[in-house]
Subunit: 204 residues, 2 copies
Amino acid sequence: MKTRERILHKSLELFNTLGEPNVTTLLISDELDISPGNLYYHFKSKIDILSELFDWYEHEMLALLDVPNEPMDIEDQWFFLHLIFESIARYRFVYQDVVNVMERHERLKHRFQKIITKKKAATLSILSSLQTQDSLRASDSEIEALCENIILTATFWISYAIVAGKHVDESVLSRGVYQVISLVVPYLEGEQRQQLQQLKQAYL
Amino acid sequence: MKTRERILHKSLELFNTLGEPNVTTLLISDELDISPGNLYYHFKSKIDILSELFDWYEHEMLALLDVPNEPMDIEDQWFFLHLIFESIARYRFVYQDVVNVMERHERLKHRFQKIITKKKAATLSILSSLQTQDSLRASDSEIEALCENIILTATFWISYAIVAGKHVDESVLSRGVYQVISLVVPYLEGEQRQQLQQLKQAYL
């Protein structure tokens, strides 16, 4: 791996474990055993590194959220949800210090808000598809509130787990998927509801 | 107000608006138009200020969470929820930078986790009381997942609003109460459900 790539990967690791506000470029060069000058040759400041890692995150998340228009079956939908949680975990520095990071970087804030908007649109599209298939029964205002709660849970589940003292591993991600499924189940009808209840157990 | 009190109130304001990690003791003394030496006379470091403000928050929250054992009627329960959201807003610096603040202050993390545990117990007690009154129909595992989603929503609603670019005002708090009610409604039976649906509208 080239130095530039190594800097980015190490920074991602440090941001995720220590929180972006607590990582300095000096720490990054120290951890890589390179001189601060060498790091500076590739990146003029921590913001440049942060910005490039945010590009990675944004690229991955937007590709994921580009939900196909044809209806997904229910297993696909939860697989999709699992991919979203994995991506959030991979870039958890964005989420765990989200208010702080966004307040200090106005441009990232704007891009993050666009991602949230896309997440809402993808969620609404999934819920509406369930609604037209008569699998989900809810009023429009219920769907709106449900959608908001799904995004909130997906956005902050990992922060919540960290604060509760948990190590972010596969079981924490699965539990996040489980919690989101729990939000939807009460609105589902008959067969779909049973199918999802069963699927839910797999995540416990 | 004595200087000591003024320092605490100004710090709370600055922590809430700028985020605790971005506030220095120099900024606090500057904003109060007192010398850094004068501030230092009262507080040896920012951590001392943070710790005392956390005491205030903890005191207020634990008093609130000391839910009486007799069953509350449904209006009382939502009034209680509103008080919780107000308290979270008053001390939002704890929540909006929660991962960062807790990672840097191990002792506060422990105390915050105890508050979360108390919140869960209070929520469970309310849900169980609804269950024994036959107002709520849910299995034990559903109640457990519901409880977790309620705490998550209450804990991160304000962070979510800030990231979405909203100014934290009365309408944001009300919407938080609304979102929590939305989590519970699908499990309620007949009259209670209608009552809560109506109450919910008042929060929109």
